[in-house]
Subunit: 157 residues, 2 copies
DNA sequence: GCCTTATATGCAATAATATGGCGTTTTATG
DNA sequence: CATAAAACGCCATATTATTGCATATAAGGC
């Protein structure tokens, strides 16, 4: 695994194509990259081995699997070392918490949370999250509209 | 496209497997679902046609493509209708803004922003985002540590 | 409850796709 | 400018996906 994988223009085009369609056939990728399919195969293996490509996933429509609520919750903890460890462990256990980051600013953590509906979200907050030891405050921004949503990182091609 | 795609246990297992590895071969998916590869192929086509599967993507390691800064920025706009339209159009144009939602709470919007480094992030804020007409305030939570990060939605299997 | 119809299934044949050898070309290095 | 190393495309082979089809399972009508 290279530390500084210097990606050439073909790599970047390939990554861009894979961010657009992670299941595209090598022949299709070859088309948009401008190389042969066999080279795509080889570069793909390299990018995976190097860890540039962390994985592949299917993107599901949340409503189709019964999830209508998305929220960003800002968490503040009590100032104790054990509070943080316990909180992080709890976060990993809750499947409705998709992401958790410690951040600068007023809050200690930002969470991305999904739930079936508003009631399920409220229940999760009051019966689960607020009961995690050390959690002092939770301020949630519930999503009203999605203006933009992509997992594709910008690549300077 | 069905409105209420009632997913059976095989569908849910298949979706779970695809969220774990979006490029898994049908034979491998068949293994974890408990069906034949041909059925996987057929169910896959159906889930794609129904829009349950919105797409597939490669997940890249941000550092490997030169992105070291992730932030969640909370935006407040001036109370004018045209401010909102202009802001949303601007958001769609900026590739460093991966996600944008209008939300409840103190802010009007939450943005997920990536940047090469702190300087690039600061420049983006001051030279781009703050110059979008109608933007009144930006409060950013810059990510210090990633505790959890997944795109996989929780499925009640 | 049984018959009918629609849907789902696994198997096997076929089609599509990925991979690796190999000779050639390009790029980097002294 | 010569040489070595890396990358390339083509092609043959291996792997994987898809579809026809006969059988099985589940749903609806009477």
């Amino acid at each position: 695994m290279r530390m500084l994988p210097d990606l050439d223009v073909f790599d970047l085009r390939l990554l861009a194509a894979l961010q657009t369609d992670g299941r595209a056939a090598n022949a299709a990728l070859a088309e948009s990259v401008g190389l042969s399919a066999s080279q795509i195969s080889r570069r793909l293996s390299r990018l995976e081995a190097d860890g540039v490509i962390a994985g592949y996933t299917a993107l599901l429509k949340p409503e189709a699997v019964g999830l209508t609520v998305l929220a960003f919750s800002n968490i503040s903890l009590d100032r104790q070392a054990e509070a943080m460890d316990g909180f992080e462990a709890a976060v990993l256990r809750f499947p409705e918490i998709l992401e958790c980051y410690s951040v600068t600013g007023e809050a200690d953590f930002v969470l991305r949370i999904v739930a079936r509906d508003l009631k399920a979200f409220a229940d999760f907050l009051s019966e689960r999250l607020l009961r995690v030891p050390g959690v002092r405050s939770v301020r949630s921004a519930i999503v009203l509209h999605q203006i933009k949503h992509t997992t594709a990182l910008p690549l300077s091609i």
